[in-house]
């Protein structure tokens, strides 16, 4: 059984080795069959994605932002898929929470423009070089002004109380409501 698993992973290991040769600044591991994971410093993300695209990762499926409150960092996960290798790869990079700036990858994957607008709206990550960041996206103007975000320290209950004027129905001392 263990040997079978190893055989199916060897293709992933080959891809990781090939990419790391060209991008020695990154770390790469095989998570399982057809799932790779790379960790890249934030200032080299453009170089790394350019290398990845030249080596068969044609599709950028999503840019996910995860807010790690305790570490004070925002993690960006670039979900890549390679049709030629049949492999999914997560490219992870971390940014400081209070100064979340990173270069755009629009010139490599043009679709990144949309994903970056999404991450900018909900996680306040600034992508330098993306011309549409300040355009209206999903939120309404009043919510943009309030700073509605998906960050972990966003006061959801307070926002709901203010927005829907339900103060009388809520107990101010309570912090949690069981749904």
């Amino acid at each position: 059984m263990a040997e079978e698993v190893k055989a199916s992973w060897s293709k992933g290991e080959e891809i990781v080795r090939m990419l790391l040769e060209k991008a020695p600044y990154a770390e790469g591991t095989v998570r399982r069959e057809r799932r790779l994971e790379f960790k890249v410093p934030a200032d080299r993300i453009v170089d790394f994605l350019r290398t990845a695209k030249a080596n068969g990762f044609e599709l950028l499926l999503q840019i996910t932002a995860v807010d790690w409150l305790k570490e004070g960092e925002i993690e960006l996960v670039y979900q890549l898929f390679s049709i030629s290798h049949g492999t999914h790869a997560m490219v992870k990079t971390r940014l400081p929470r209070d100064e979340a700036r990173i270069s755009t990858v629009m010139d490599i994957y043009p679709v990144a423009e949309t994903y970056e607008r999404d991450a900018h709206e909900f996680f306040k990550v600034t992508f330098e070089g993306n011309p549409k960041l300040e355009m209206p996206w999903i939120l309404e103007d009043e919510d943009r002004e309030v700073g509605v975000s998906h960050r972990k320290d966003f006061d959801m209950l307070g926002y709901v109380k203010r927005k829907y004027k339900l103060l009388d129905r809520f107990d101010e001392d309570k912090e949690n409501y069981v749904i």
Partner: protein, 391 residues
């Protein structure tokens, strides 16, 4: 006889700002109340009846599901996240459950895998029927649209018997499915329905897919090539219509798909007609897959993982880590990225709907130069689903 200039002057005097920007150009707000756009809006700058510029304007359906999911226990999120995709709600259920399965390290029992595959294929068939209804209505072939809606109803009834609900099933859960197949009678009904719809496919061909009007309306509009499609993150039938044979069921197989025999239809033209025909061929393949699954029959065994944590759901905890799972939906590559910090609620859930790629940049570029009458047809040929974008 009042001339146009007089009308414009009168309007200006009364404080009405008219939209025409120059002589023949004007702005048109297309949607969100337009039938073709489905809760989504396009701002079109028109010159006569040609589109000069299009700006996608999403956000009318934003309900903050991804944020809400962080406040709810793992299992209750299924009842929330499936609302992201209205025509095939089984897809978000399945990807979320598959990601949680991976985090838990669970191998789903064979019977549950069979049921999940069948449910996903049934969802695909009913979503394609829903799409056929939309396309026929936009082309003006109302009869075929009514048929498609009526045939979809047969699958709704089967879903109701299996899961207890017609549209939002809340059926696939981490570790398996919520309840077992009601019995052999249900399997016989499913086979009858599949055969019935297979029989009716030639009616759709006669009326829609081999119709001269369809060809005239769809051929050569909204053309995209292979390189453009890959750069813009286009997936699903829209990508296969440009000549790339990418199907998640083949490229990154899940559930029982490695054991099933089916073809991935690919066309090269990349226009609206190619996209429509790819969907029509896939519809046939899905019926064929359902037949194979029924021939195989559900394997015996449990329909969900036997694990003590599934007996006390409020205390259900998932080990820390992250996982990505994706399946092939009728609209494209549907994926979920789930992060856990070891608690009884997810730390972060992101759903990647295919329309976030199709509905913003692709539509903005495909619409340039299109006629106003072609806008709904191009939207329908991309099978744009706005809830994916807004979430």
């Amino acid at each position: 006889m009042v001339t146009q200039e007089e009308l414009i002057r009168e309007a200006r005097e009364n404080g009405m700002e008219l939209l025409p920007l120059e002589k023949d150009t004007y702005e048109l707000f297309f949607g969100p109340q337009h039938m073709a756009t489905e809760n989504y809006s396009l701002i079109l700058k028109m010159d006569g009846h040609r589109v000069v510029k299009a700006i996608a304007n999403p956000g009318f359906l934003h309900r903050g599901f991804e944020k809400l999911a962080e406040y709810r226990p793992w299992h209750t999120n299924i009842a929330l996240l499936l609302r992201i995709c209205v025509p095939e709600p089984d897809v978000p259920e399945a990807i979320y459950s598959m990601a949680v399965d991976e985090l838990m390290g669970w191998e789903v029992p064979e019977r549950a895998q069979w049921i999940r595959t069948t449910v996903l294929e049934m969802a695909r068939v009913s979503a394609y029927l829903f799409w056929m209804m939309g396309l026929s209505f936009k082309l003006g072939v109302y009869t075929a649209g009514q048929w498609a809606a009526a045939y979809r109803e047969r699958f709704m009834a089967l879903f109701e018997e299996l899961t207890g609900a017609r549209v939002y099933h809340i059926y696939t859960i981490p570790g398996g499915v919520r309840r077992d197949i009601p019995g052999d009678k249900w399997l016989r009904q499913l086979r009858d329905t599949v055969e019935y719809i297979k029989d009716k496919l030639k009616d759709f061909d006669n009326l829609v897919f081999e119709n001269y009007i369809t060809y005239r309306r769809l051929e050569g509009i909204g053309v995209m090539d292979k390189k453009f499609a890959l750069n813009e993150g286009v997936t699903g039938p829209n990508l296969r219509a440009t000549g790339v044979p990418y199907d998640v069921r083949r490229a990154d197989p899940y559930l029982l798909y490695p054991e099933l025999d089916f073809e991935v239809p690919v066309l090269k033209e990349g226009d609206a007609l190619a996209r429509a025909l790819v969907r029509r061929f896939e519809f046939e393949q899905d019926l064929y897959i359902l037949e194979q699954l029924l021939d195989m029959g559900p394997p015996s065994g449990p329909y969900k993982v036997d694990h003590p944590s599934l007996k006390a759901l409020p205390r259900f905890r998932v080990p820390a880590g992250d996982a990505f799972a994706h399946v092939e939906a009728t609209k494209g590559d549907f994926g979920a990225y789930v992060v856990s910090d070891g608690g009884n609620k997810p730390y972060r859930v992101q759903i990647r709907g295919p329309s976030i790629a199709h509905g913003i940049r692709v539509i903005e570029q495909l619409l340039v130069g299109a006629r106003l009458a072609d806008v709904p047809v191009i939207l329908m040929s991309l099978d744009n689903c706005p809830p994916d974008i807004d979430r």
